[in-house]
C-alpha cells in the first residue's frame, strides 16, 4: 500500500463514502481501514456529516409557486382575446340566407331527435355548468381523458360524451375525400371492456416499448382533450385532427413494436373487432423520440369544425390552441374541476332551437363572426344521430404515408358511410342536404383581433349604463347591461382603457358613475396600490370570495353584480327629486 499523507487519505475516504472509487482504490481504502483506527474514526465522522447533510430540506413550497413563476414569465401585454378568434367577413352576409335555410330545415328535421336525445337534465348541474363553465369561455369537452379511453377511441372510433347515457361522438375516416363524425347513441359496453392493461397483457411489450406506448397514449389522450371544445356560448368545436387521430394512433402503437409483437397486436385488435387492422410489415420499430416528435409537430391547419348551439351551422374557425392550453391550465391550477355531463349542454340546445324567430337574428350575427373556409359540409341523419361530413380541402388534416404503412381499415366498405352514398337505405326520406360554402381569395375580410373595439364603444356609452366592476383572479370584470355578457379583459388593458377615459382616478371614476352605483372595494385597493396585484393576493381575494358565498349559502357564482336594478331605480328617483 502506498504511504498516504493525511490529505490524500481524507480525499480517498471522502470518495469512498461517495462510492466514487475504482475497484483497486476501494480495496486500498478497505485495507487502510482494517489497519488504521484513526482512518476508521475519520470515516465514521465523514459518514455522520454526509447523513446529516442529506436531511437538509427547504420548507414546503407555497401552493402558488408555479402561479408566481407564471406571472413573471415574459409575455406580451395584450388584451385578453376570445379564445376562439372570431373574424368578421362582410362578404358572408349573403351566405346567411343559405345557412338559415339549412338551419330551418335542420331544426325541423332534427327537433324530435334533439328533444329525445337531450332529455335528461338536473337544474343544479345545469346551473353549475352555466356559472362555472360557460363563463370561463372555453372548456375541453373531454377534460379527463385517460389512456384507456384513448385506446378505445383508437380501436372503435367512439368517444363517450358522458357517463350516464350512451351518447357518443363517432368518427369515421373510411371514405377517400374527407371525414365524418356523428353525434348520437352508442354502445359503450363493448368499449369499456378494453383497457391498456389488456393490451399490455397480450402483446407483452418490453420496458422500452411500454414507455413508448405510455407516451403515445398520453399524448393521444391530451390531443382528445384539446380536440373537442365548448366555448362560452356553448358552441361545440371539433378538431379535424381528432378524426385522423384514430387511425394514426393505432399506426403509432404498431410502429413502436417489433414484428412479433405487432402480430400479437393484430390478434388483439381482431379479437375485439377493431375498426383497423395492423398491416403486416417488416419495418423495424420506430424510436419513441421520432414518434413523439411527429405527434408534437404543430398542425398546419389549425382549424376546428364548429357546431353552433344556436344555428347548428357548420363552419371552420380559427382557434388559438396555445391560448386554450394556457387557459385550461390556469383553470386547473386555480379552481376545482368538475365533471359536467354533456347532456346538460345539449339539453340547452334543444331548448333554444325552438324559437326560430329569435334565432334568425343570432344566425346572422354568428355568421358575421366566423370565417368560413371552402370546406364542403354535408349534414344528415346518421345511424344513431346527427351526422356531419366534411370534405378535405387544401391544407386539411389528412392521413400521411406513415399511417397507411402501418394500418389498414378492417372493413374497407364501412357500413357507417352508407348514408352518403346513392344507395341510401332510406331514399324516400329527405334527410340529406348538401351545402357548399366558398370564399375566394379576393374576399374582403375585416379581422377583429380582440375585444378592444367592443370596449371602446361600450365605455363611450358608459354614463347611460349601469356599471359593474369586479376584480377577481387577476382579471378585472366589467359588465355593461347592453353587452348581455361579461367582458373580461386583462387588468393592464382595462387600466389603460380607463386611463384613456380618465377613469383611473378614483374621484374621476366616482363622478363618471351613474348615481347610486357602487364600486367594489377591490377596485379601490387595486388602484390605490398602483401596482400589479400579486398572485397570492389575487388567490386570497378569490378564496375569500368563495368562502363568502359558502357562508351566505349562495351557490358558486361566476359573477356577482354590484348593485341591483332597484337601487339604480331609487337613485334615479332621488336624482329626479334633487332636480
Amino acid at each position: 500500500m502506498k504511504n498516504l499523507n493525511a490529505r490524500q487519505r481524507h480525499v480517498l475516504l471522502s470518495m469512498y463514502i461517495d462510492n466514487e472509487l475504482s475497484a483497486s482504490e476501494q480495496i486500498e481504502v478497505e485495507l487502510l481501514l482494517e489497519k488504521s483506527s484513526e482512518a476508521r474514526v475519520e470515516l465514521q465522522e465523514l459518514q455522520f456529516i454526509k447523513q446529516t447533510m442529506a436531511g437538509q430540506k427547504a420548507p414546503p413550497a407555497d401552493d402558488n409557486f408555479y402561479a408566481q413563476i407564471h406571472a413573471k414569465l415574459p409575455q406580451p401585454v395584450q388584451v385578453e382575446q376570445p379564445l376562439i378568434q372570431r373574424k368578421f367577413v362582410p362578404a358572408v352576409a349573403g351566405l346567411s340566407a343559405i345557412a338559415f335555410a339549412l338551419f330551418v330545415l335542420f331544426v325541423s328535421l332534427q327537433s324530435d331527435f334533439f328533444v329525445k336525445f337531450f332529455s335528461k337534465t338536473t337544474q343544479n348541474v345545469q346551473q353549475a355548468y352555466e356559472e362555472n363553465v360557460v363563463n370561463k369561455w372555453i372548456m375541453p369537452l373531454f377534460e379527463k381523458t385517460n389512456k384507456d379511453e384513448a385506446l378505445q377511441f383508437a380501436m372503435f372510433g367512439v368517444l363517450p360524451l358522458d357517463d350516464s347515457s350512451n351518447t357518443v361522438l363517432k368518427v369515421d375516416t373510411a371514405f377517400a375525400s374527407g371525414y365524418s363524425f356523428e353525434l348520437g347513441q352508442g354502445n359503450r359496453a363493448r368499449n369499456k371492456q378494453v383497457t391498456v392493461n389488456d393490451l399490455y397483457r397480450e402483446i407483452k411489450p418490453t420496458e422500452e416499448q411500454r414507455q413508448a406506448l405510455d407516451t403515445i397514449l398520453f399524448l393521444a389522450s391530451r390531443q382528445i382533450e384539446e380536440g373537442v371544445l365548448l366555448d362560452e356560448n356553448r358552441n361545440l368545436a371539433i378538431s379535424p385532427s381528432i378524426i385522423t387521430m384514430q387511425k394514426s394512433l393505432i399506426a403509432r402503437v404498431a410502429a413502436c413494436l417489433d414484428i412479433d409483437r405487432r402480430d400479437r397486436m393484430e390478434d388483439f385488435l381482431e379479437a375485439r373487432n377493431a375498426l383497423y387492422a395492423v398491416r403486416s410489415t417488416k419495418a423495424p420499430a420506430v424510436s419513441r423520440v421520432k414518434l413523439v416528435k411527429q405527434i408534437s409537430e404543430p398542425e398546419e391547419n389549425n382549424t376546428f369544425v364548429m357546431i353552433s348551439r344556436d344555428t347548428i351551422i357548420l363552419s371552420e374557425i380559427s382557434i388559438d390552441r396555445n391560448r386554450i392550453r394556457k387557459h385550461t391550465n390556469q383553470l386547473a391550477s386555480n379552481e376545482p374541476r368538475y365533471r359536467i355531463a354533456y347532456e346538460h349542454f345539449t339539453q340547452q340546445v334543444a331548448k333554444e332551437v325552438k324559437d326560430i324567430k329569435e334565432h334568425t337574428r343570432i344566425v346572422r350575427d354568428n355568421l358575421s363572426n366566423v370565417i368560413v373556409k371552402p370546406a364542403p359540409v354535408f349534414v344528415s341523419h346518421g345511424k344513431s344521430g346527427l351526422r356531419i361530413q366534411v370534405k378535405y380541402s387544401q391544407g386539411s388534416t389528412r392521413s400521411n404515408s406513415f399511417v397507411t404503412a402501418y394500418v389498414q381499415p378492417r372493413r374497407p366498405s364501412n357500413k357507417h358511410v352508407q348514408w352518403v352514398s346513392s344507395n341510401n337505405r332510406r331514399p324516400t326520406q329527405p334527410l340529406q342536404r348538401q351545402v357548399t360554402i366558398e370564399l375566394h381569395s379576393d374576399t374582403m375580410i375585416d379581422v377583429r383581433e380582440n375585444a378592444l373595439h367592443e370596449m371602446e364603444r361600450e365605455l363611450q356609452r358608459l354614463e347611460s349604463h349601469e356599471f359593474h366592476l369586479e376584480l377577481r383572479e387577476g382579471l378585472l370584470y366589467l359588465k355593461l347591461d347592453s353587452l348581455e355578457q361579461m367582458i373580461r379583459i386583462s387588468t393592464d388593458s382595462i387600466k389603460m382603457k380607463l386611463r384613456n377615459f380618465q377613469l383611473n382616478d378614483r374621484e374621476v371614476l366616482k363622478k363618471k358613475m351613474p348615481p347610486g352605483v357602487e364600486i367594489r372595494p377591490d377596485y379601490y385597493e387595486y388602484e390605490h396600490r398602483k401596482e400589479e396585484p400579486s398572485p397570492s393576493y389575487l388567490m386570497q381575494q378569490y378564496k375569500m370570495r368563495l368562502n363568502e358565498y359558502n357562508n351566505q349559502g349562495i351557490q358558486l357564482k361566476r359573477y356577482k353584480g354590484i348593485h341591483t336594478k332597484n337601487k339604480t331605480t331609487s337613485s334615479k328617483a332621488e336624482k329626479k327629486q334633487g332636480d
Binding site: 490529505r7 481524507h10 480525499v11 471522502s14 470518495m15 461517495d18 466514487e20 475519520e42 465514521q44 465522522e45 465523514l46 455522520f48 456529516i49 454526509k50 446529516t52 447533510m53 442529506a54 436531511g55 437538509q56 430540506k57 427547504a58 420548507p59 413550497a61 407555497d62 409557486f65 408555479y66 408566481q68 413563476i69 407564471h70 413573471k72 414569465l73 415574459p74 338536473t122 343544479n124 348541474v125 346551473q127 353549475a128 379527463k144 405510455d214 407516451t215 398520453f218 419513441r288 423520440v289 413523439v292 416528435k293 408534437s296 409537430e297 404543430p298 396555445n322 392550453r325 394556457k326 391550465n329 391550477s333 376545482p336 374541476r337 368538475y338 365533471r339 359536467i340 351557490q555 358558486l556
Partner: protein, 200 residues
C-alpha cells in the same frame, strides 16, 4: 352546497412523461408542459437554494428566477446533457450571482468565521444538542463555507449528484470536484469535531 354536491369532483390521473418528451413538446410550441417540468423539479431546486443560502425568505424568489431562466433558455436546449443537469447549472449560476450580490453582507473572513463557529459549537456542546439542533449547526456552518466548497457539497450530499454530474454542473474538472468536496468535508469536520466526538 347543493350545487357542489351535484357535481363530481375528479382528481386528474397521474401521468408520467419523461423530460425529453416534455421538452420536445415545449420546443414545438406547447408551452403548457413547462408547468410539469417546474412541478417535477421545484422541490430539488428549492432544497438546493435553501442549502446554499440557509435563508427561508428568498428561497422561492431565487428558485423562481431559476425556472424563469430555464423557460427562456429551453427553446434552445440541445439535449447535450440531461435536463436536470442543465437546470442545476442554471440554479448554481443563479445562486453564485446572488451570492456575489450579497457578498459584502454575507461573507466575513474565513478565519474569524472558524473561531466564531468553534465557539458556537463549544457552547452547543455544553448541553448535548439534539439531532435537530445538530442539523441547525451544520446548516449554519454550511451557509458560511466559501462558495467553491459549499456548492459541491450541497450538490453531492443534499442533491445526490455524482462527481461527473457535479463537474458538469459546475463546469470544472472531476479532480477539482474531488478536492473541493474533500476540503469542504475536512473543514466541516474540523469545526464540528468537538460535537462529533460526543456523538460517535
Amino acid at each position: 352546497m347543493e350545487t357542489l354536491e351535484a357535481i363530481q369532483s375528479v382528481e386528474a390521473p397521474p401521468r408520467e412523461v419523461n423530460d425529453e418528451v416534455l421538452i420536445t413538446l415545449f420546443q414545438g410550441g406547447d408551452e403548457y408542459v413547462f408547468r410539469q417540468l417546474v412541478e417535477r423539479y421545484q422541490n430539488r431546486i428549492r432544497d438546493l437554494v435553501h442549502s446554499i443560502f440557509r435563508n427561508d425568505e428568498f428561497v422561492d424568489d431565487i428558485a423562481q428566477d431559476v425556472f424563469i431562466k430555464a423557460y427562456e433558455g429551453l427553446k434552445k436546449f440541445k439535449f447535450n446533457s440531461s435536463f436536470y443537469t442543465w437546470l442545476y447549472r442554471i440554479a448554481v449560476n443563479t445562486c453564485r450571482d446572488e451570492m456575489r450580490k450579497r457578498k459584502n453582507r454575507r461573507f466575513i473572513s474565513f478565519e474569524s468565521l472558524s473561531e466564531s463557529m468553534q465557539q458556537f459549537v463549544h457552547n452547543k456542546n455544553a448541553i448535548q444538542p439534539s439531532d435537530g439542533e445538530l442539523k441547525e449547526v451544520l446548516a449554519d456552518y454550511l451557509a458560511k463555507l466559501p462558495e467553491k466548497y459549499r456548492i459541491p457539497i450541497v450538490l453531492k450530499d443534499v442533491q445526490g449528484l455524482s462527481y461527473e454530474e457535479i463537474a458538469d454542473v459546475m463546469d470544472c474538472e472531476m479532480g477539482t470536484v474531488k478536492s473541493r468536496l474533500s476540503r469542504a468535508r475536512s473543514m466541516m469536520r474540523d469545526q464540528l469535531r468537538p460535537y462529533l466526538e460526543g456523538q460517535l
